[in-house]
Protein backbone atom coordinates (compact mmCIF):
# COMPACT_ATOMS: atom_id res chain seq x y z
CA UNK A 1 0.00 0.00 0.00
CA UNK A 2 1.66 3.22 -1.20
CA UNK A 3 -0.65 5.50 0.72
CA UNK A 4 -2.17 5.88 4.13
CA UNK A 5 -5.93 5.70 4.38
CA UNK A 6 -5.96 8.77 6.56
CA UNK A 7 -4.92 10.63 3.42
CA UNK A 8 -8.48 10.00 2.25
CA UNK A 9 -9.73 11.84 5.32
CA UNK A 10 -7.30 14.68 4.65
CA UNK A 11 -8.12 14.90 0.95
CA UNK A 12 -11.83 15.31 1.66
CA UNK A 13 -11.14 17.99 4.24
CA UNK A 14 -8.82 19.91 1.94
CA UNK A 15 -11.10 19.38 -1.06
CA UNK A 16 -8.49 17.52 -3.10
CA UNK A 17 -10.71 15.47 -5.40
CA UNK A 18 -7.87 13.95 -7.41
CA UNK A 19 -6.24 12.49 -4.32
CA UNK A 20 -9.52 11.28 -2.83
CA UNK A 21 -10.36 9.55 -6.10
CA UNK A 22 -6.89 8.01 -6.46
CA UNK A 23 -6.76 6.68 -2.91
CA UNK A 24 -10.25 5.26 -3.15
CA UNK A 25 -9.44 3.60 -6.44
CA UNK A 26 -6.29 2.05 -5.04
CA UNK A 27 -7.91 0.98 -1.78
CA UNK A 28 -10.77 -0.74 -3.59
CA UNK A 29 -8.32 -2.47 -5.93
CA UNK A 30 -6.61 -3.85 -2.85
CA UNK A 31 -9.89 -5.23 -1.57
CA UNK A 32 -10.55 -2.82 1.25
CA UNK A 33 -14.18 -2.83 2.31
CA UNK A 34 -15.82 0.17 0.62
CA UNK A 35 -17.99 0.78 3.68
CA UNK A 36 -14.83 1.07 5.76
CA UNK A 37 -13.71 3.88 3.49
CA UNK A 38 -17.05 5.60 3.89
CA UNK A 39 -17.61 5.04 7.60
CA UNK A 40 -14.06 5.37 8.93
CA UNK A 41 -12.68 8.09 6.69
CA UNK A 42 -15.11 9.98 4.49
CA UNK A 43 -17.99 10.48 6.91
CA UNK A 44 -15.68 11.65 9.72
CA UNK A 45 -14.04 14.00 7.23
CA UNK A 46 -17.38 15.52 6.25
CA UNK A 47 -18.31 15.77 9.93
CA UNK A 48 -15.16 17.81 10.40
CA UNK A 49 -15.99 19.92 7.35
CA UNK A 50 -19.43 20.57 8.83
CA UNK A 51 -17.89 21.54 12.15
CA UNK A 52 -15.53 23.98 10.44
CA UNK A 53 -18.44 25.44 8.46
CA UNK A 54 -20.44 25.96 11.63
CA UNK A 55 -17.46 27.61 13.31
CA UNK A 56 -16.90 29.97 10.35
CA UNK A 57 -13.56 28.34 9.61
CA UNK A 58 -14.92 27.09 6.27
CA UNK A 59 -17.12 29.03 3.90
CA UNK A 60 -19.09 27.96 0.84
CA UNK A 61 -16.12 27.44 -1.55
CA UNK A 62 -14.32 25.19 0.93
CA UNK A 63 -17.47 23.20 1.64
CA UNK A 64 -18.22 22.72 -2.04
CA UNK A 65 -14.66 21.57 -2.65
CA UNK A 66 -14.88 19.00 0.13
CA UNK A 67 -18.20 17.80 -1.23
CA UNK A 68 -16.65 17.44 -4.67
CA UNK A 69 -13.76 15.39 -3.25
CA UNK A 70 -16.18 13.14 -1.43
CA UNK A 71 -18.28 12.72 -4.56
CA UNK A 72 -15.19 11.71 -6.51
CA UNK A 73 -14.73 8.83 -4.09
CA UNK A 74 -18.40 7.97 -3.90
CA UNK A 75 -18.54 7.68 -7.68
CA UNK A 76 -16.31 4.63 -7.28
CA UNK A 77 -17.95 3.29 -4.16
CA UNK A 78 -21.63 3.67 -5.06
CA UNK A 79 -21.63 0.99 -7.82
CA UNK A 80 -20.07 -1.48 -5.40
CA UNK A 81 -22.68 -0.69 -2.77
CA UNK A 82 -25.38 -1.46 -5.29
CA UNK A 83 -23.59 -4.60 -6.51
CA UNK A 84 -23.23 -6.00 -3.00
CA UNK A 85 -26.58 -4.76 -1.68
CA UNK A 86 -24.96 -2.38 0.81
CA UNK A 87 -27.51 0.10 2.03
CA UNK A 88 -26.86 3.80 2.60
CA UNK A 89 -28.07 5.30 5.87
CA UNK A 90 -31.07 6.52 3.95
CA UNK A 91 -32.24 7.87 0.62
CA UNK A 92 -33.01 11.53 0.19
CA UNK A 93 -34.74 13.33 -2.65
CA UNK A 94 -33.71 16.99 -2.62
CA UNK A 95 -34.77 19.96 -4.69
CA UNK A 96 -35.66 23.62 -4.82
CA UNK A 97 -39.41 23.94 -5.15
CA UNK A 98 -41.44 25.03 -8.15
CA UNK A 99 -40.85 28.62 -9.24
CA UNK A 100 -37.54 29.01 -7.43
CA UNK A 101 -34.15 28.74 -9.15
CA UNK A 102 -31.93 29.39 -6.11
CA UNK A 103 -29.84 26.36 -5.38
CA UNK A 104 -26.80 27.15 -3.27
CA UNK A 105 -28.52 26.31 0.03
CA UNK A 106 -30.02 23.12 -1.37
CA UNK A 107 -26.63 22.13 -2.78
CA UNK A 108 -24.94 22.59 0.59
CA UNK A 109 -27.56 20.47 2.33
CA UNK A 110 -27.37 17.78 -0.37
CA UNK A 111 -23.57 17.71 -0.13
CA UNK A 112 -23.60 17.42 3.64
CA UNK A 113 -26.26 14.68 3.53
CA UNK A 114 -24.19 12.74 1.04
CA UNK A 115 -21.17 13.22 3.25
CA UNK A 116 -23.24 11.93 6.13
CA UNK A 117 -23.78 8.61 4.40
CA UNK A 118 -27.08 9.28 2.64
CA UNK A 119 -27.75 8.57 -0.99
CA UNK A 120 -29.02 11.83 -2.39
CA UNK A 121 -31.08 12.29 -5.54
CA UNK A 122 -30.79 15.96 -6.37
CA UNK A 123 -33.64 17.04 -8.64
CA UNK A 124 -32.21 20.53 -9.10
CA UNK A 125 -34.29 23.70 -9.06
CA UNK A 126 -37.82 24.70 -10.03
CA UNK A 127 -39.04 21.19 -9.25
CA UNK A 128 -42.76 20.59 -9.66
CA UNK A 129 -44.69 18.65 -6.99
CA UNK A 130 -45.33 15.79 -9.40
CA UNK A 131 -41.58 15.48 -10.05
CA UNK A 132 -40.98 15.09 -6.32
CA UNK A 133 -43.73 12.46 -6.14
CA UNK A 134 -42.24 10.53 -9.04
CA UNK A 135 -38.72 10.69 -7.56
CA UNK A 136 -39.87 9.49 -4.14
CA UNK A 137 -41.52 6.50 -5.76
CA UNK A 138 -38.65 5.76 -8.12
CA UNK A 139 -35.93 5.95 -5.46
CA UNK A 140 -37.94 4.69 -2.53
CA UNK A 141 -36.88 7.79 -0.62
CA UNK A 142 -36.92 8.02 3.16
CA UNK A 143 -36.61 11.80 3.26
CA UNK A 144 -37.54 14.67 0.95
CA UNK A 145 -35.62 17.92 1.40
CA UNK A 146 -37.45 20.97 0.03
CA UNK A 147 -35.70 24.31 -0.38
CA UNK A 148 -37.01 27.83 -1.09
CA UNK A 149 -35.33 31.21 -0.95
CA UNK A 150 -38.29 33.41 -1.80
CA UNK A 151 -41.39 34.05 0.26
CA UNK A 152 -43.31 33.87 -2.99
CA UNK A 153 -42.26 30.27 -3.60
CA UNK A 154 -42.84 29.00 -0.08
CA UNK A 155 -46.43 27.98 -0.98
CA UNK A 156 -44.90 25.47 -3.42
CA UNK A 157 -43.67 23.56 -0.38
CA UNK A 158 -47.23 23.06 0.80
CA UNK A 159 -48.34 22.12 -2.71
CA UNK A 160 -45.59 19.50 -2.78
CA UNK A 161 -46.64 18.04 0.55
CA UNK A 162 -50.26 18.05 -0.63
CA UNK A 163 -49.14 16.16 -3.74
CA UNK A 164 -47.53 13.50 -1.54
CA UNK A 165 -50.82 13.15 0.33
CA UNK A 166 -52.83 12.95 -2.87
CA UNK A 167 -50.45 10.32 -4.23
CA UNK A 168 -50.79 8.25 -1.05
CA UNK A 169 -47.10 8.44 -0.19
CA UNK A 170 -47.12 11.09 2.55
CA UNK A 171 -46.55 8.54 5.31
CA UNK A 172 -43.63 6.96 3.48
CA UNK A 173 -41.33 9.98 3.69
CA UNK A 174 -40.18 12.57 6.17
CA UNK A 175 -40.42 16.03 4.65
CA UNK A 176 -37.68 18.49 5.60
CA UNK A 177 -38.02 22.17 4.66
CA UNK A 178 -35.40 24.91 4.69
CA UNK A 179 -34.27 28.19 3.17
CA UNK A 180 -33.85 31.76 4.35
CA UNK A 181 -37.55 32.71 4.66
CA UNK A 182 -38.68 29.37 6.12
CA UNK A 183 -39.15 28.86 9.85
CA UNK A 184 -40.54 26.30 12.28
CA UNK A 185 -43.98 27.91 12.40
CA UNK A 186 -44.27 27.71 8.63
CA UNK A 187 -43.08 24.10 8.69
CA UNK A 188 -45.76 23.26 11.25
CA UNK A 189 -48.39 25.14 9.30
CA UNK A 190 -47.82 23.21 6.08
CA UNK A 191 -47.40 19.85 7.80
CA UNK A 192 -43.68 19.34 7.20
CA UNK A 193 -41.89 16.91 9.49
CA UNK A 194 -38.82 19.03 10.11
CA UNK A 195 -37.33 22.46 9.66
CA UNK A 196 -33.63 23.12 10.08
CA UNK A 197 -31.82 26.39 9.53
CA UNK A 198 -28.48 24.96 8.48
CA UNK A 199 -27.01 21.99 6.65
CA UNK A 200 -25.20 20.48 9.62
CA UNK A 201 -28.27 20.25 11.84
CA UNK A 202 -30.28 18.96 8.88
CA UNK A 203 -27.87 16.02 8.57
CA UNK A 204 -27.97 15.35 12.32
CA UNK A 205 -31.76 15.32 12.29
CA UNK A 206 -31.88 13.16 9.16
CA UNK A 207 -29.71 10.62 10.95
CA UNK A 208 -32.02 10.70 13.95
CA UNK A 209 -34.97 10.04 11.65
CA UNK A 210 -33.14 6.99 10.33
CA UNK A 211 -32.39 5.77 13.84
CA UNK A 212 -28.67 6.50 13.58
CA UNK A 213 -27.01 8.01 16.63
CA UNK A 214 -25.07 11.23 15.99
Amino acid sequence: MSYELNQLYDSVITGDNKTSHAITEQALAEGIDPMKLVNDHMMPAMDEVGRRFEMNEYYVPELLLSARAMKASMALIRPLMIQFDMEPIGRVVAGTVKGDLHDIGKNLVAAMLEGGGFEVFDLGTDVAPEQFVEAVREHNADIVALSALLTTTMPSMKLTIDAFTAAGIRDQVKVFVGGAPVNQEFADEIGADAYRDNAVSAVAHAKQCMGVST
Binding site: Y58, E62, L64, I104, T152, E185
Partner: protein
Protein backbone atom coordinates in the same frame (compact mmCIF):
# COMPACT_ATOMS: atom_id res chain seq x y z
CA UNK B 1 -39.50 46.30 -4.71
CA UNK B 2 -42.10 43.55 -4.80
CA UNK B 3 -44.11 45.37 -2.14
CA UNK B 4 -44.16 48.52 -4.29
CA UNK B 5 -45.28 46.50 -7.29
CA UNK B 6 -48.10 44.93 -5.27
CA UNK B 7 -49.16 48.32 -3.95
CA UNK B 8 -50.11 49.50 -7.45
CA UNK B 9 -51.54 46.12 -8.45
CA UNK B 10 -48.89 45.37 -11.06
CA UNK B 11 -47.25 42.06 -11.90
CA UNK B 12 -43.67 42.01 -10.77
CA UNK B 13 -42.33 40.96 -14.15
CA UNK B 14 -43.80 44.15 -15.62
CA UNK B 15 -42.35 46.15 -12.73
CA UNK B 16 -38.89 44.80 -13.62
CA UNK B 17 -39.17 45.41 -17.36
CA UNK B 18 -41.00 48.75 -17.58
CA UNK B 19 -39.45 51.75 -15.84
CA UNK B 20 -42.77 53.60 -15.84
CA UNK B 21 -44.34 50.90 -13.65
CA UNK B 22 -41.33 50.84 -11.33
CA UNK B 23 -41.51 54.62 -10.94
CA UNK B 24 -45.27 54.54 -10.38
CA UNK B 25 -44.86 51.92 -7.65
CA UNK B 26 -42.18 53.83 -5.80
CA UNK B 27 -44.02 57.14 -6.05
CA UNK B 28 -47.05 55.36 -4.61
CA UNK B 29 -44.86 54.23 -1.69
CA UNK B 30 -43.86 57.85 -1.11
CA UNK B 31 -47.46 59.02 -1.20
CA UNK B 32 -48.78 56.23 0.99
CA UNK B 33 -46.03 55.95 3.60
CA UNK B 34 -43.87 59.04 3.22
CA UNK B 35 -40.81 56.99 2.36
CA UNK B 36 -37.65 59.08 1.89
CA UNK B 37 -36.14 57.33 -1.09
CA UNK B 38 -36.93 56.66 -4.73
CA UNK B 39 -35.25 53.43 -5.66
CA UNK B 40 -34.48 51.81 -9.00
CA UNK B 41 -33.53 48.44 -7.53
CA UNK B 42 -35.78 45.69 -8.84
CA UNK B 43 -33.80 42.56 -9.64
CA UNK B 44 -30.14 41.50 -9.89
CA UNK B 45 -29.91 40.33 -13.50
CA UNK B 46 -30.24 43.57 -15.49
CA UNK B 47 -26.58 43.72 -16.44
CA UNK B 48 -26.38 39.97 -17.11
CA UNK B 49 -29.44 40.21 -19.36
CA UNK B 50 -27.88 43.05 -21.32
CA UNK B 51 -24.73 40.94 -21.68
CA UNK B 52 -26.94 38.35 -23.35
CA UNK B 53 -28.22 36.10 -20.57
CA UNK B 54 -31.76 34.83 -20.95
CA UNK B 55 -34.03 35.54 -17.99
CA UNK B 56 -37.14 33.73 -16.86
CA UNK B 57 -39.92 35.96 -15.59
CA UNK B 58 -42.60 35.22 -13.03
CA UNK B 59 -45.79 37.06 -12.16
CA UNK B 60 -44.97 37.93 -8.60
CA UNK B 61 -41.25 37.53 -7.97
CA UNK B 62 -37.93 38.67 -9.41
CA UNK B 63 -36.75 36.95 -12.59
CA UNK B 64 -34.16 34.20 -12.55
CA UNK B 65 -31.42 33.10 -14.86
CA UNK B 66 -31.40 29.34 -15.43
CA UNK B 67 -28.65 29.18 -18.03
CA UNK B 68 -25.72 31.33 -17.13
CA UNK B 69 -24.00 33.16 -19.91
CA UNK B 70 -20.45 32.00 -19.26
CA UNK B 71 -20.63 28.28 -19.90
CA UNK B 72 -16.85 28.03 -19.72
CA UNK B 73 -14.23 30.41 -18.33
CA UNK B 74 -12.96 30.96 -21.86
CA UNK B 75 -16.29 32.57 -22.75
CA UNK B 76 -15.15 35.64 -20.85
CA UNK B 77 -12.73 36.39 -23.68
CA UNK B 78 -15.60 37.05 -26.08
CA UNK B 79 -18.04 38.63 -23.63
CA UNK B 80 -19.02 42.07 -24.87
CA UNK B 81 -19.58 44.83 -22.36
CA UNK B 82 -23.16 46.12 -22.71
CA UNK B 83 -23.95 49.75 -23.43
CA UNK B 84 -25.99 51.14 -20.51
CA UNK B 85 -27.88 53.21 -23.10
CA UNK B 86 -28.29 50.29 -25.49
CA UNK B 87 -32.02 49.86 -24.96
CA UNK B 88 -32.01 46.92 -22.55
CA UNK B 89 -32.80 46.56 -18.85
CA UNK B 90 -29.88 48.81 -17.90
CA UNK B 91 -31.45 51.53 -20.01
CA UNK B 92 -34.78 50.96 -18.25
CA UNK B 93 -33.03 51.75 -14.97
CA UNK B 94 -31.54 54.93 -16.39
CA UNK B 95 -34.95 55.93 -17.76
CA UNK B 96 -36.46 55.34 -14.32
CA UNK B 97 -33.96 57.76 -12.81
CA UNK B 98 -34.74 60.34 -15.49
CA UNK B 99 -38.46 59.95 -14.84
CA UNK B 100 -37.97 60.28 -11.08
CA UNK B 101 -35.98 63.44 -11.70
CA UNK B 102 -38.68 64.83 -13.95
CA UNK B 103 -41.49 63.91 -11.56
CA UNK B 104 -40.01 64.55 -8.12
CA UNK B 105 -37.22 66.96 -8.95
CA UNK B 106 -34.75 67.24 -6.10
CA UNK B 107 -37.26 66.69 -3.32
CA UNK B 108 -36.45 63.03 -2.64
CA UNK B 109 -33.09 61.27 -3.07
CA UNK B 110 -32.92 58.93 -6.06
CA UNK B 111 -31.16 55.63 -5.63
CA UNK B 112 -29.65 53.83 -8.59
CA UNK B 113 -28.32 50.30 -8.35
CA UNK B 114 -25.47 48.11 -9.57
CA UNK B 115 -24.34 44.62 -8.70
CA UNK B 116 -21.08 44.10 -6.83
CA UNK B 117 -18.16 42.15 -8.32
CA UNK B 118 -18.84 38.84 -6.56
CA UNK B 119 -22.59 38.96 -7.12
CA UNK B 120 -22.33 39.87 -10.80
CA UNK B 121 -19.64 37.23 -11.35
CA UNK B 122 -22.13 34.74 -9.89
CA UNK B 123 -24.91 36.04 -12.13
CA UNK B 124 -22.77 35.59 -15.24
CA UNK B 125 -21.03 32.33 -14.36
CA UNK B 126 -23.33 30.64 -11.81
CA UNK B 127 -22.99 30.74 -8.06
CA UNK B 128 -21.73 27.17 -7.64
CA UNK B 129 -19.20 27.50 -10.44
CA UNK B 130 -17.71 30.79 -9.33
CA UNK B 131 -17.51 29.70 -5.70
CA UNK B 132 -15.44 26.68 -6.69
CA UNK B 133 -13.37 28.71 -9.12
CA UNK B 134 -12.29 31.17 -6.45
CA UNK B 135 -10.09 28.25 -5.39
CA UNK B 136 -9.69 26.01 -8.45
CA UNK B 137 -9.30 28.72 -11.09
CA UNK B 138 -8.46 31.87 -9.14
CA UNK B 139 -7.07 33.77 -12.13
CA UNK B 140 -10.37 33.40 -13.96
CA UNK B 141 -12.40 34.42 -10.91
CA UNK B 142 -10.30 37.58 -10.57
CA UNK B 143 -10.42 38.33 -14.31
CA UNK B 144 -14.19 38.00 -14.24
CA UNK B 145 -14.54 40.26 -11.21
CA UNK B 146 -12.26 42.82 -12.89
CA UNK B 147 -14.40 42.71 -16.03
CA UNK B 148 -17.53 43.10 -13.92
CA UNK B 149 -16.04 45.98 -11.94
CA UNK B 150 -15.42 48.00 -15.08
CA UNK B 151 -18.93 47.30 -16.37
CA UNK B 152 -20.54 48.31 -13.06
CA UNK B 153 -18.50 51.52 -12.85
CA UNK B 154 -19.73 52.54 -16.30
CA UNK B 155 -23.31 51.65 -15.36
CA UNK B 156 -23.10 53.58 -12.08
CA UNK B 157 -21.70 56.63 -13.86
CA UNK B 158 -24.54 56.53 -16.38
CA UNK B 159 -27.10 56.42 -13.57
CA UNK B 160 -25.45 59.33 -11.77
CA UNK B 161 -25.40 61.31 -15.01
CA UNK B 162 -29.15 60.65 -15.27
CA UNK B 163 -29.74 62.10 -11.81
CA UNK B 164 -29.10 59.42 -9.20
CA UNK B 165 -27.93 60.84 -5.87
CA UNK B 166 -27.07 57.48 -4.37
CA UNK B 167 -25.94 54.21 -5.92
CA UNK B 168 -26.66 50.94 -4.15
CA UNK B 169 -24.15 48.15 -4.63
CA UNK B 170 -25.62 44.70 -4.07
CA UNK B 171 -22.91 42.12 -3.49
CA UNK B 172 -24.92 39.26 -2.09
CA UNK B 173 -22.47 36.46 -2.87
CA UNK B 174 -19.67 38.26 -1.04
CA UNK B 175 -21.01 36.82 2.20
CA UNK B 176 -20.27 33.29 1.00
CA UNK B 177 -16.50 33.59 0.68
CA UNK B 178 -14.07 33.56 3.57
CA UNK B 179 -12.98 36.85 5.17
CA UNK B 180 -9.44 36.64 3.76
CA UNK B 181 -10.64 36.21 0.18
CA UNK B 182 -13.15 38.98 0.72
CA UNK B 183 -10.54 41.39 2.11
CA UNK B 184 -7.86 40.54 -0.46
CA UNK B 185 -9.88 40.11 -3.64
CA UNK B 186 -13.51 41.21 -3.40
CA UNK B 187 -13.28 44.34 -1.26
CA UNK B 188 -10.59 46.03 -3.41
CA UNK B 189 -12.87 45.66 -6.44
CA UNK B 190 -15.87 46.93 -4.50
CA UNK B 191 -13.66 49.84 -3.44
CA UNK B 192 -12.96 50.72 -7.07
CA UNK B 193 -16.71 50.99 -7.67
CA UNK B 194 -17.20 52.99 -4.47
CA UNK B 195 -14.44 55.44 -5.42
CA UNK B 196 -15.79 55.85 -8.95
CA UNK B 197 -19.26 56.63 -7.60
CA UNK B 198 -17.84 59.18 -5.18
CA UNK B 199 -15.77 60.73 -7.96
CA UNK B 200 -18.93 61.09 -10.02
CA UNK B 201 -20.59 62.98 -7.17
CA UNK B 202 -22.97 60.42 -5.67
CA UNK B 203 -23.12 58.53 -2.41
CA UNK B 204 -22.84 54.79 -1.92
CA UNK B 205 -25.02 52.23 -0.18
CA UNK B 206 -23.64 48.69 0.18
CA UNK B 207 -25.84 45.68 0.78
CA UNK B 208 -24.41 42.21 1.26
CA UNK B 209 -27.06 39.54 1.81
CA UNK B 210 -26.18 37.03 4.50
CA UNK B 211 -23.58 37.09 7.22
CA UNK B 212 -20.74 39.64 7.13
CA UNK B 213 -19.17 38.43 10.35
CA UNK B 214 -15.38 38.59 10.12
CA UNK B 215 -15.48 41.11 7.28
CA UNK B 216 -16.11 44.29 9.23
CA UNK B 217 -12.63 45.77 8.94
CA UNK B 218 -12.53 45.33 5.17
CA UNK B 219 -16.04 46.75 4.81
CA UNK B 220 -15.21 49.69 7.05
CA UNK B 221 -12.27 50.55 4.81
CA UNK B 222 -14.51 50.74 1.72
CA UNK B 223 -15.75 54.15 2.82
CA UNK B 224 -19.37 53.53 1.89
CA UNK B 225 -21.84 56.17 3.02
CA UNK B 226 -24.45 53.63 4.07
CA UNK B 227 -23.96 50.01 5.06
CA UNK B 228 -27.22 48.11 4.71
CA UNK B 229 -27.08 44.99 6.88
CA UNK B 230 -28.93 41.72 6.71
CA UNK B 231 -30.58 40.29 9.83
CA UNK B 232 -28.01 37.62 10.65
CA UNK B 233 -25.93 39.87 12.87
CA UNK B 234 -27.08 42.12 15.66
CA UNK B 235 -26.83 45.83 14.97
CA UNK B 236 -24.65 46.07 18.08
CA UNK B 237 -22.12 43.65 16.59
CA UNK B 238 -21.94 45.51 13.27
CA UNK B 239 -21.71 48.84 15.06
CA UNK B 240 -18.78 47.55 17.11
CA UNK B 241 -17.11 46.16 14.01
CA UNK B 242 -17.53 49.18 11.78
CA UNK B 243 -17.32 52.07 14.25
CA UNK B 244 -19.62 54.80 15.45
CA UNK B 245 -19.39 57.01 12.37
CA UNK B 246 -20.46 54.36 9.84
CA UNK B 247 -24.05 54.99 8.84
CA UNK B 248 -25.95 51.69 9.11
CA UNK B 249 -29.36 50.61 7.94
CA UNK B 250 -31.29 47.51 8.82
CA UNK B 251 -31.82 44.93 10.05
CA UNK B 252 -35.07 43.34 11.15
CA UNK B 253 -35.63 39.80 9.85
CA UNK B 254 -37.89 40.33 6.80
CA UNK B 255 -40.01 37.23 7.39
CA UNK B 256 -40.10 36.62 11.14
CA UNK B 257 -39.60 40.24 12.16
CA UNK B 258 -41.68 42.05 9.52
CA UNK B 259 -44.05 39.82 7.54
CA UNK B 260 -45.05 37.45 10.35
CA UNK B 261 -44.70 39.93 13.19
CA UNK B 262 -47.14 42.37 14.80
CA UNK B 263 -47.06 46.17 14.83
CA UNK B 264 -46.27 46.16 18.54
CA UNK B 265 -43.40 43.71 18.13
CA UNK B 266 -42.06 45.57 15.10
CA UNK B 267 -41.88 48.80 17.10
CA UNK B 268 -40.10 46.95 19.90
CA UNK B 269 -37.62 45.33 17.51
CA UNK B 270 -36.87 48.62 15.79
CA UNK B 271 -36.41 50.33 19.14
CA UNK B 272 -33.88 47.67 20.10
CA UNK B 273 -31.99 47.99 16.81
CA UNK B 274 -32.06 51.76 17.11
CA UNK B 275 -30.69 51.64 20.64
CA UNK B 276 -27.89 49.31 19.56
CA UNK B 277 -26.99 51.52 16.60
CA UNK B 278 -27.18 54.90 18.29
CA UNK B 279 -26.48 57.76 15.89
CA UNK B 280 -26.04 57.33 12.11
CA UNK B 281 -28.80 54.80 11.67
CA UNK B 282 -31.61 54.26 9.18
CA UNK B 283 -34.40 51.87 10.06
CA UNK B 284 -35.05 49.14 7.52
CA UNK B 285 -35.81 45.50 7.09
CA UNK B 286 -32.79 43.18 7.05
CA UNK B 287 -33.33 42.70 3.32
CA UNK B 288 -36.49 43.09 1.24
CA UNK B 289 -39.90 43.67 2.80
CA UNK B 290 -41.79 40.57 1.58
CA UNK B 291 -44.72 41.35 -0.69
CA UNK B 292 -47.14 39.46 1.56
CA UNK B 293 -46.45 41.74 4.55
CA UNK B 294 -49.66 43.04 6.16
CA UNK B 295 -50.05 46.77 5.68
CA UNK B 296 -50.32 47.46 9.42
CA UNK B 297 -46.81 46.04 9.81
CA UNK B 298 -45.45 48.36 7.14
CA UNK B 299 -47.22 51.28 8.78
CA UNK B 300 -45.67 50.30 12.11
CA UNK B 301 -42.18 50.57 10.59
CA UNK B 302 -42.80 54.11 9.43
CA UNK B 303 -44.57 55.09 12.65
CA UNK B 304 -41.56 54.08 14.67
CA UNK B 305 -39.17 55.89 12.33
CA UNK B 306 -41.15 59.11 12.57
CA UNK B 307 -41.59 58.91 16.33
CA UNK B 308 -37.89 58.28 16.87
CA UNK B 309 -36.43 60.83 14.51
Amino acid sequence: MTYAGNLIGQRYDDYCRDHRILVEGNLAMVERYGIDLLSCCCQPFSEAADCGAELEYYDNQPPSCRNHLLKEPADLLTLKRPDPHGGGLMTERIKAIELYKKTAGDTIPIQGWVEGPMAQASDLRGINEIMLETVTNPEFALDLMDWVTEMEIEFAQAQIAAGANLIGIGDAAASLVNPTYYADEVAPREKKIVDAIHDAGARVRLHICGSIQGKYEAIKNLGVDLLDIDYLQTVAEVREGTGSTQCLSGNIDPVRGIKDSTPRQIRADFAKAHEEAGENFILAAGCEVPPETPEENVVAMFDYARSAS
